[in-house]
Amino acid sequence: MADKNLPMREALRLALQEEMRRDERIFIMGEEVGMWQGTHKVTRGFLEEFGEKRVRDTPIAEMGIGGLAVGAAMAGLRPVAEFMTINFAFLALDAIINHAAKVRYFFDGEFECPVVFRAATGWGDQATASHSHTPEPIFAHFPGLYVCSPADSADAYGLLKTSIRDNNPVLFTESIGLYRMPGAVPDNPDYTLPIGKGKVKNEGSDVTLIAYGRAVSWCLKAARELAKEGISAEVVDVRWLRPLDTDLIFESFRKTNRAVIVEESHQFYSFGSEVAAQIQENCFDYMDAPIKRVTQHDVPVPFSKPLEELTYPDHTDVIKAVKEIL
């Protein structure tokens, strides 16, 4: 069947809509998901189509939203709980990490917890310090949870369906910067993707660029520019921070012997930290150069436009890093 071309927001919306049509147990809850049509319009038209029972506007109560979704999931429903942005999920850390991610374990399999926590992630638009996090790694630190963040429309479509159909708790984050980005979406309502498997988004041989979410687009752009200079960059989108597709990362690295890891968040104890550590541990003999990391500056995110732009990396920083290790 012919693919559709949709911005990521619409791909997510379609995935969620099709899943809700497929399975009555699925419902969406969160702040402004209903009458407001979703802060990011991912649930546009849902209240009208599915009604108040399955499209539930909530109070501003993140710890309650998190915990209520866990209970509903244990009891047999399949909640998709939306945090307006991942920043507000800080208030639900305990519900997500000490409950969603652990109920199956500390009751030794007595219950399942098929909940998907959706949240917009990332920075831009001068959202300021408390509203500009991309903290996926701190959630992915903990076993019991899956953490997924798509980089394009097709993945958003497939990964959200995968997350909804899986019986484990998933934190699913959506880069605000990608919502408007168009992309081909397979015309297949059962399009799912394997859990914990990344994807090579651009084949290359000189260096491996590793990222997830929005940072993947910087890597692809950098790869295009580098190609003009005859530098062949492979781009690996891990898609999942947990489980992390180390096999794919190692395979690519053993081919290119060089890597730059790119992420939106702060440097310390983060995505690039783990990936770099994994590579040097497992591909030591293949390392021709130190593994570089491209991250945002180690400061809270300021409001002022010029300062905010200064805070974050983009494809030019990726290119710079690549050249430092070639």
Binding site: M63, G67, L68, M74, A75, R104, F107, D108, G109, E110
Partner: protein, 327 residues
């Protein structure tokens, strides 16, 4: 509320003595270092609260969830005492395969959704379980125990607001035993009349009840269940007392509150109150009948200890990694 029958009362007596025997034995086992770990919270003194409340649960339909002080709910729900005791020992045969221990008992088959260790953490879960009941129109009611200390936590506020706002069939049963660890209710709550918080959420306030008197518990909980059956949430504040302090980590308890403790034991013991009633109300019930019930409880607990002792520990990496995820 229909007056409970003699058979019911005798069954309550069985439940309460079973709980008491179980808890006191657990206490001994802990100090004999046969049960290990740092967390074990006993229900001795609280018996009438859970017994009187759970008496209204429709088996296989209604739901029960609580915090870490969870042995009684498991026993009343009908979970095998052997497997409960085995869990406290951390054995593979325990209800939670030894992974949860005293604080994390649960049994899906008994609609017992478990004990939880984070104060307040289970409250939104209770609301979520109630949402399923409402969503699928099962007519079920969720009974959620709440400690007095937990009512000061944000989880309590958000969970009760959800329940009141969405008319979720949850009964919030506050077990006000006077303390959160070492802190008196009055030193933790701006307004120590905890039930008065219900109005802020449009949850029906059933006021305070004497949690040592199983009859009073039974009556008020009957009304609460009725209220929630017709869709809606209820709050009940039961006044009770913990005989064994906060938990096994509570070293100073007995000394600091010896007098207060003795007073509750002598004058407000829930088992004595029920026993007295049985002997006075029913000529056909005598001491020896009741003693036989205690003996049977004793036997069940002894057997559970033996079962636990003889069960194997989980020891393999496979045990360790199983049920982190489901496939």
């Amino acid at each position: 509320m229909a007056k409970p029958t003699k058979e019911m009362l005798l069954d309550w007596y069985r439940q309460m003595t079973l709980i008491r025997e179980f808890e006191e034995t657990s206490h001994q086992l802990y100090f004999d270092k046969r049960i290990t770990g740092v967390y074990m919270h006993l229900y001795s003194g609280h018996e009438a609260v859970a017994v009187g409340a759970m008496a209204h649960m429709e088996i296989g339909k209604d739901h029960i969830i609580t915090a870490y002080r969870d042995h009684a709910q498991a026993l009343i729900a009908g979970v095998d005492p052997n497997r409960i005791m085995a869990e406290m020992f951390g054995k593979k045969t325990g209800v939670s395969g030894g992974k949860g221990g005293s604080m994390h008992l649960a049994s899906a088959a008994h609609n017992f959704w478990g004990g939880y260790a984070i104060v307040g953490g289970h409250l939104p879960l209770a609301a979520g379980i109630a949402l399923e009941a409402q969503y699928n129109n099962t007519g079920a009611v969720v009974l959620s125990h709440v400690g007095d200390g937990a009512t000061n936590n944000g989880y309590f506020h958000e969970a009760l607001n959800f329940a009141g706002l969405w008319d979720l069939p949850v009964i919030w049963l506050i077990e006000n035993n006077g303390y959160g660890m070492g802190t008196e209710t009055e030193r933790a709550a701006g307004n120590p009349l905890l039930h008065e918080r219900a109005i802020g959420y449009d949850v029906k306030d059933f006021g305070r009840v004497d949690g040592q008197d199983v009859f009073k518990m039974y009556d008020v909980m009957g009304e609460a269940f009725e209220h929630c059956r017709n869709g809606g949430s209820a709050l009940v504040e039961a006044i009770t007392y913990r005989y064994r302090g906060h938990g096994v980590s509570d070293k100073q308890y007995d000394s600091r509150l010896a007098q207060e403790l003795q007073d509750w034991k002598e004058n407000k013991d829930p088992i004595n109150i029920l026993k007295k009633h049985l002997l006075e109300e029913y000529k056909t019930v005598n001491e020896s009948d009741l003693q036989a019930i205690v003996d049977e409880s004793r036997r069940i607990v002894d057997e559970s200890v033996e079962y636990a002792e003889n069960s194997p520990f989980p020891t393999t990496l496979e045990d360790l990694y199983s049920n982190v995820y489901t496939d």
